[in-house]
Symmetry: C2
């Protein structure tokens, strides 16, 4: 069957719990890795190069952009952030699945470079529940919550670019569904056609 | 999320074990039903109308064909066999998944009537293993085995009409993969778009 790993591109609004879902999935699936982003910002205390981020100089980063070395990249607060293509491709070629947790604009860039990725949008059970979760953190002002909800609504408009919607009703259910998506994708004829052809259609 | 059941159309060569896989899946998933075929042949001893088959007269059967009442139908040994459309649609509308175990020509007919079905082709781990399994029954002559292998090779040519390939290495693995396919299909954006639009994109 298909030996190549899957690139799992996972987006979803702030507060939906996608980081928790990915984290729990990774704990259960050591064959799956999290993509490490590159950035030009300075390391914060405790951050390790190659673990939290690949820390690059602006010059290096721009050179890599010129060489088409990123699956996606963007600038936030004058710092560059990006997903190094080589590192991801190497893991996929070794048969490892790779999770890329990324916002919608980045996901669209990845899609144009790598359409065979699996694009998954994490949904809250409802808009009310998303608001509850944002409010439940108890650390944000009403203004921040309102901004995040507006941003969520803007992100939902890109949902049609995704293959799957993953409702995070409970983390356990969401992790199980993510596992089902991975296993089902590996059974797709389109991912196995050359094997099937060689073995069964001669 | 999507409330409609899935139509699981399952094909595969004689000897691959698709009946066993479907049977074990059904035991674990009471929310899923097996489609009951209609036929014009006479009931054999012990066969119950509506359980093993829906037994119809030739006249009834032909009238139902004229009314587009079958998802597929065929004639074997002068008897008609078919999948009643109404019964299947009713179960799907009630949110029940339905398994239709059927050969490739029938599956192609179903696909033209109901393209939103999930078309799954059960594969042996290898051609050698298929031959072993056919031989392992110990009840068939070499001639019958050769015929079945030729037929399997002819069936493999239709594999590109299917969405998924399901390798039956062990029944347990195959049943688990079938469950993953069902769960993943239920997360497809295309099956949930109207719900997502109503709830999140206003």
């Amino acid at each position: 069957m298909s030996k190549k790993g899957l690139l799992l591109v996972i987006s979803g609004p702030s507060g939906v719990g996608k980081g928790t879902v990915c984290g729990e999935y990774l704990k259960l699936h050591p064959e799956c890795s999290l993509s490490v982003s590159a950035t030009t910002r300075s390391p914060r205390e405790g951050e390790v190069d190659g673990v939290n981020y690949h820390f690059l100089t602006q010059e290096d980063f721009k050179e890599r952009i010129a060489q088409d070395g990123f699956l996606e990249h963007a600038i936030f607060c004058e710092n560059y952030y990006g997903t190094p293509k080589d590192a991801v491709m190497k893991m996929l070629d070794e048969g490892k699945d790779v999770i890329l947790e990324i916002e919608v604009q980045g996901a669209l860039q990845v899609r144009s470079h790598y359409p065979e990725g699996v694009f998954i949008f994490v949904l809250p059970p409802s808009m009310e529940e998303l608001e509850n979760r944002l409010r439940g953190r108890g650390t944000e002002t009403e203004e921040v919550i309102a901004k995040r909800l507006d941003r969520a609504k803007a992100e939902f408009k890109f949902i049609e670019k995704y293959n799957y919607v993953l409702t995070n009703d409970t983390v356990e259910n969401a992790v199980e569904r993510l596992g089902a998506i991975v296993n089902a994708e590996k059974c797709l004829l389109s991912r196995n056609y050359s094997y099937v052809k060689d073995e069964f259609i001669k």
